[in-house]
């Protein structure tokens, strides 16, 4: 009997059941994709490191061939295994030629690695381990491929000293310990014979580097040993994960999007179930009246929703596979993600959707117990609401009739419409926050977080900076020579260089690995401190908040560091914000001696006389020809070079725009269709009393448009505070940043994004509201 009722119900209430089925599909699709995304992201790097056989510790050092560090590490009792890579150095991109043109797409030196010396597993684009590379071929890491149109099979010419090679590009490779950020050096894997051929030229050994991959139980012993070697840096497996920070941030952003989509689908689903159950109160009343028990009535509806849920989740699960792949695409380009658990987790999450739907249904049908047969019959019959009175009065309102009705409907069912407002606001917030983030990460206001002073041009050519990298004391000569060159060529200016050293600092019994910066050269800028003051003497430093935490110190405390085998004591004078979290800023006069630099943030030029942008661009062009390099950047290009995430965020923003259009359209169409179904009697009545189709369509469209307009207003009000909080939160993840205010493009966030949402709502609701035309005035007679 129940089966017959169910069958009849599925047929008779086809529209609502199809709407419900569509929401279930959406829900399970987003849930399965989101869960898959969460698992892939959270466990992604650990899985990748396992697959790549990343060791406990990796030690990198300059001129690794010329010293015995590798042997000494191997001799330590705690070392279980040591694998070594020696990299040849190609100091500039201009030594590579593609289609006859010198490359100028990366700023750092490139490193060459032999296929016979691969210390970890490297993967090709299809996630297969690269066992060997054919002679005359090479694989390249992501930074090599930025801004060039190179395809598999293309030939690249390489000159190292007097050696010349023509190599065929085999594709991009993924190296677990190599950063994929464009600001980092590119790596190339080549055949050992090609590698040996190049290594016979001395030029390949200037600034050569190496990596020792060590499996050990005692990291501290390795650190202790490495301390004695200049230009050597230790990274544990955990520390190496930080190179995926931007990938993880993108992944987390996508994860948040997935969660929002999942939340959206569940909220709408919950609403739809409640809605369809309330539509059935009349039937429930009839069943109660003839003596059917509450349990039986509820089980009838639960069985119905179970059937819809099972069918919907199955379809949704299959749809989630391409969606999940699309969302993880940006992450899987750089990381080898696990696909093993995907199917199982997808199925489990789909099963969870079924259970949740049944719980919703159980909750919604709870009212069945409370209703008497008469209540149920009356409620089902008239659709009366038992809430407070309407807030607006037609007689006192100046609004046109259709506008009045739509606004009144929204105000009369605040809960129902506020759910939609929240959903729309979330969609538009994600779009606009992405826009703000992308813009801020490109903005010149973040220059100070790169630890460089205000400047108009930045020379980033590794060849020009090479001497300072090897011996940082040569900065004076580099700065003097450059300033003279500038003056001689009619563009006088002051130069600065921010040199970094990685040193160990101590405070009490706490020690930490800190990057010490020293700004060399003349500048009018003083270090921007968030608290305290900038260092004014050589025994003063400003530190980041993370450094304070690491050392358990406060402003005014003294910390010690060994520099050039001499112990120094510094007073902490203040805290500052930087993209490098564990860092300290020395006073400019502090002498670092002849240490090789850990890093140099380029050579910054501040032109005299505040030239305009056109003049700056001219000067930059002149500098390019004077230094015979393309790696002279304006401040905005300099920032863009370091914040590749800005482009990723832009891509995510565009994806979010597409998702918003799809989700909004789906919600609008399905909700409007539900409203039409529910309000069939009112529509018929309106037609009967002489309201024309146009007015009814306008009322229905305006109702949803009102919701989307409110969502846009709410979003506009909360966008900037939320953006600032989140930007600083992200800034704290990437570095140690506080007090950053987001940039925004008013046209995009206050016009374009709202226009997308409102436009989709207008089109979706209007087209769906056309369905009201099918309801006739005479349908008043056949309404239940």
């Amino acid at each position: 009997m129940f089966w017959r009722i169910l069958k009849k119900d599925l047929k008779r209430k086809k529209t609502m059941n199809i709407i419900l089925l569509l929401f279930v599909i959406l829900c399970s699709m987003f849930a399965a994709a989101a869960v898959n995304n969460i698992i892939a992201v959270t466990g992604g790097i650990e899985h990748y490191f396992d697959a790549a056989d990343v060791p406990d510790v990796s030690v990198r050092m300059i001129n690794s061939r010329e010293n015995d560090l590798g042997e000494k590490i191997g001799e330590l009792a705690c070392v279980k295994e040591i694998r070594t890579e020696h990299w040849l150095c190609v100091s500039s991109s201009k030594y590579f030629r593609h289609n006859g043109k010198e490359l100028d797409n990366f700023t750092n030196a490139a490193y060459l690695l032999s296929d016979s010396e691969m210390a970890v597993n490297y993967f090709d684009e299809n996630n297969h381990i690269i066992e060997s590379v054919d002679k005359g071929c090479f694989y390249a890491s992501a930074p090599f491929l930025q801004d060039i149109d190179i395809k598999e099979g293309d030939e690249v010419e390489l000159d190292v000293g007097n050696r010349h090679l023509t190599l065929k590009f085999m594709g991009r490779f993924k190296g677990a310990l190599f950063s994929t950020e464009n600001s980092n050096p590119p790596y190339l894997i080549m055949n050992s014979a090609d590698y040996d051929y190049l290594s016979t030229d001395e030029a390949a050994h200037i600034m050569n580097c190496g990596q020792f991959c060590v499996n050990t139980s005692e990291v501290d012993e390795i650190r202790e040993l490495v301390k004695n070697y200049g230009g050597a840096y230790v990274n544990t497996r955990e520390e190496s994960k930080s190179i995926y920070l931007y990938d993880m941030l993108s992944a987390y952003v996508l994860m948040i999007i997935s969660i929002v989509l999942m939340f959206t689908a569940f909220v709408v689903l919950r609403f739809t179930i409640g809605f369809t159950v309330s539509e059935e109160f009349r039937e429930i009343g009839v069943m109660k009246a003839v003596g059917i028990g509450n349990g039986s009535i509820r089980s009838l509806y639960i069985v119905k929703y179970l059937a819809i849920a099972v069918v919907g989740t199955l379809i949704g699960y299959f749809c989630s596979v391409p969606l999940g792949d699309m969302m993880l695409k940006t992450v899987s380009e750089n990381i080898v993600l696990s696909s093993e658990s995907g199917i199982l987790m997808g199925l489990l999450s789909s099963a969870a959707v079924v259970i949740l739907i049944l719980l919703f249904c159980y909750g919604c049908t709870r009212r069945v117990n409370k209703l008497s047969p008469i209540d149920a019959v009356r409620n089902g019959q008239t659709g009366e609401r038992f809430q407070k009175k309407s807030l607006l009065h037609l007689g006192r309102s100046k609004l046109p009739q259709a506008v009045f009705l739509s606004v009144n409907d929204v105000l009369s069912s605040p809960r129902q419409f506020s759910i939609m407002i929240v959903v729309f606001a979330l969609c538009i917030l994600l779009m606009t926050i992405m826009s703000n983030f992308a813009l801020t990460l490109k903005s010149e206001k973040i220059l100070r977080f790169f630890d460089v002073p205000s400047s108009e041009a930045h020379i980033m050519d590794s060849e020009i900076l090479r001497e300072v990298m090897v011996d940082q004391s040569t900065h004076k000569q580099t700065i003097t020579d450059t300033e003279k060159l500038l003056a001689d060529n009619g563009m006088p200016g002051k130069c600065t260089m921010t040199i970094s050293e990685q040193l160990e600092a101590s405070h009490g019994d706490k020690t930490a690995k800190i990057i010490f910066h020293a700004m060399k050269g003349e500048t009018n800028d003083t270090l921007y401190v968030d608290k305290g003051s900038a260092p004014q003497k050589t025994d003063e430093i400003a530190v980041t908040v993370s450094t304070l935490d690491d050392l358990d110190a406060e402003i005014g405390d003294r910390v010690t560091a060994v520099i050039n085998e001499k112990k120094y004591e510094f007073i902490i004078t203040g805290t500052y914000s930087s993209f490098i979290s564990h860092a300290a800023f020395l006073y400019e006069d502090f002498n670092l001696g002849h240490l090789p630099a850990h890093d140099v943030m380029g050579l910054q030029i501040h032109f005299d006389g505040s030239p305009d942008r056109a003049q700056i661009n001219k000067n930059i062009e002149k500098l390019k020809s004077l230094f015979d390099t393309d790696k002279v950047y304006s401040t905005s290009d300099f920032i863009k070079n370091f914040t590749g995430m800005s482009d990723t965020l832009n891509a995510i923003k565009q994806m979010m725009m597409i998702i918003t259009v799809i989700v909004t359209a789906l919600i609008v169409i399905l909700m409007e269709r539900s409203f039409i179904f529910k309000e069939k009697s009112e529509i018929a009545l309106m037609k009967a009393v002489g309201i024309d189709n146009g007015s009814i369509i306008l009322q229905h469209s305006l109702r949803l448009v009102t919701v989307s307009v409110i969502a846009c207003i709410v979003t506009s009000a909360v966008l900037m505070p939320i953006s600032n909080v989140m930007m600083n939160w992200v800034g704290n993840m990437v570095g140690d940043i506080s007090g950053l205010k987001c940039d925004f493009d008013p046209l995009e966030i206050f016009v374009i994004c709202p226009a997308i949402l409102i436009g989709t709502t207008v089109i979706g609701s209007f087209l769906t509201a056309l369905y009201t035309k099918t309801i006739k005035a005479s349908d008043t007679a056949s309404i239940e």
Partner: protein
């Protein structure tokens, strides 16, 4: 007969259900003059409501002509039909359909706000709505929600709504069908008052007591008007009503009621 308000010629209405043709109205010829109060009676499924919906322009006819106030409504477009329903007709249904998000008063004045022939301000319209409610004795529920009033009050509110645009004719589909006897009498008395004031009324009913108050009764069977009884205008006394009801019941018996 006074001036004709409504006239049908060869009116047919056919529904196709599951590929089966169902001829609900068959060649109905009908004329209703100004100031008449016509009851349509007949067994269930005879086509009473369909006739009402077809002549009022709420539903399209399959064949034949419908002339309302001299205009052939069957040939009019949806928009023009809607305007006629809004400005020149009033409707009362068995179920007291109302807009759930509007108060009782707002429901009443809603058609007037929409009407283009209405040039008064919203305040004036509201005042007129209140006056109508006062006249029908429900002015104390002006601001109430529709779930806060009784069935009888709600039906009287529906009558107010049907009157708000001063229609030429009111169509009522079993207006007392969902009411108890007392409420039913009140509603019918209001309709009689309206009719006396000059409004033409066409009323579908099963209730011979309701029909006995009408000036003419049509009896419809299987989509055809098979009988017609002139009753004359009802004076209002209980005795007269009893006599008219008896007379009508006899006639209905003859028709096979």
């Amino acid at each position: 007969m006074n001036n004709t308000v409504l006239q049908t010629k060869g009116l047919c209405k056919t529904y196709i259900v599951n590929k089966h043709q169902n001829n609900v109205l068959k060649n109905v010829d009908l004329t209703i003059g100004e100031g008449e109060m016509v009851a349509v009676m007949g067994p269930s499924g005879s086509g009473k409501s369909t006739l009402l919906y077809c002549v009022s322009g709420m539903d399209r006819v399959t064949a034949g002509e419908v002339l309302f106030n001299g205009k052939e409504t069957a040939k009019l477009g949806d928009k023009e039909l809607a305007r006629i329903r809004l400005d020149e007709m009033g409707f009362i249904f068995q179920q007291m359909y109302m807009m759930k998000n509007l108060s009782v008063l707002d429901n009443i004045i809603f058609p007037a706000v929409k009407s283009k022939k209405n040039s008064e301000s919203r305040r004036q319209t509201e005042e007129r709505g209140r006056a109508l409610m006062r006249r029908l004795g429900i002015d104390d529920v002006c601001g109430n929600d529709i779930n806060e009033v009784s069935g009888g009050q709600l039906q009287r509110a529906c009558i107010c709504r049907s009157m708000i645009n001063n229609p030429k004719m009111i169509f009522a589909d079993e207006p007392t069908g969902a009411l108890n006897r007392a409420s039913s009498d009140e509603v019918m008395n209001e309709l009689l008052t309206l009719n006396r004031d000059g409004t033409t009324i066409m009323c579908v009913t099963h209730d011979s007591k309701v029909a006995a108050k009408c000036s003419r009764v049509l009896y419809i069977v299987d989509g055809r008007i098979v009988g017609e009884k002139e009753m004359g205008h009802f004076g209002g006394s209980d005795k007269e009503l009893r006599d008219r009801e008896r007379e009508l019941n006899n006639w209905l018996m003859e028709q096979g009621w």
